[in-house]
Amino acid sequence: MLIDSGSPGAPATIGISLTINGEVRELQVAPWTTLLDLLREDLDLTGTKKGCDHGQCGACTVLVNGTRINSCLALAVMKDGAEIVTVEGLAKHAGQDGAMHPLQAAFVERDAFQCGYCTPGQLCSAAGMIAEGHATSREEIREAMSGNICRCGAYTNIVDAIEDVMHAGAAR
């Protein structure tokens, strides 16, 4: 057994190690802490948003080992050893320290938001989707991005921005 938090009824916090936006963090977490709550409440990385807390909106999307997932449905303790990238680290992760990530620049250029609440999730999701490499046409992008709800309805411009970046071949 790699880890055993103890007998039933006597749960303890568990030590885990996460690399978050390039920085190694040794953390003590209660097993019921979601990755989203760890990021927002404990680490003050509030760029990642809580929309629904149930996997239904995509606002909490982050990259875990390069793969996009909903951080609201992930228990932090289960991600022990993983590399996490949030919207705060997206540009740095793409080697763009100091500048915006190409997707961020394209979102600004294309006016791909109104209130901005869904935007961090949209950005991380788009970065993950481009890395997956399965979507090329506009229809495929729309389908692959359907896990990100935008209550303001900025969808058309979001797809425009993603297409710009995909065609420029610059995203990572």
Binding site: D4, P8, G9, P31, N70, L73, V77, E139
Partner: protein
Amino acid sequence: MNRFDYVRPTTVEEAVKAIGSAANARFIAGGTNLVDLMKYNVERPERLVDITRLPLEGIEEHEGGLRIGALVTNSTLAYDERIQNRYPLLSSAILAGASGQLRNAATTGGNLNQRTRCYYFYDEATPCNKREPGSGCQAIGGVNRIHAIFGTSENCIATHPSDMCVALAALEAQVRVTGPGGERRIPFAEFHRLPGDTPQYDTTLKADEIVLSVDLPDEGFAGHHTYLKLRDRLSYAFALVSVAALVRLDGNTIGEARFALGGVAHKPWRNAEAEAFLTGKPATRESFEGAAEIVMREAKPQSENGFKIELARRAIIRGLTQAASGTPQSQSDKRIA
């Protein structure tokens, strides 16, 4: 969420031991269903057994088919080249479900064992025989637009929400499991069950058994298949009705046809009589209508879901037509034609 303790075994043996070590312990894999249910207090496990470090992540050749490890994610499976080439129905059904993010986290074993999306099941404040046996079924006579039209009982009318499982039913996969009683293989049709008097049980998997793999037979019907999913919005929504159709043709004559329906029963729904009816018939609309007729004879609507009968009838006909003509519906193609 309730408080629980957490164990992370590295072998199947340790995992099986751990699940038996506390009443009400649960395996957790992708967590996309279990964590959600825990947030609603529908699941209150005392202990979580994190199985993500078990060696169940491979897709291997097996007895002419493929053996899919229980931890293979829905995305990995859908985009695996062997699956896309040999079992394109399975790829398509998986890609019809949930979202890119959820499929990246969701696993094969978790998808099989996901629970119903019945609103009352999710709402602690209402009676529900599945959540609390003997408390009643609020969906009967209540809000039941998404509920079953086949195989219901007076105790539960819930549906199984998976898309992947509908394809696996049509492909006649087997589920390999193990537990204190040893390893066994369950034919897919016997894995999920009807609610009957014990709607608290979704499957025939025992509480102390773990799914190891899903085994696909060699025949994948790669030339003639489709997965058609009908729902309230075009993506990121559960099926109201779906159909997984597979056809083998001799010229224009149907050598074999299989089709399973999703969103209409407590398990992927197949009808042997309707499939047998098609054998030897020409691959025409008339034949497909005849098969749909046979299936729908058994349908029993609830107060709000009568529309599913006509929807399912048309889905069967369109699904079989697409499969026979070798024109599967792409999950990015939202045109109805």
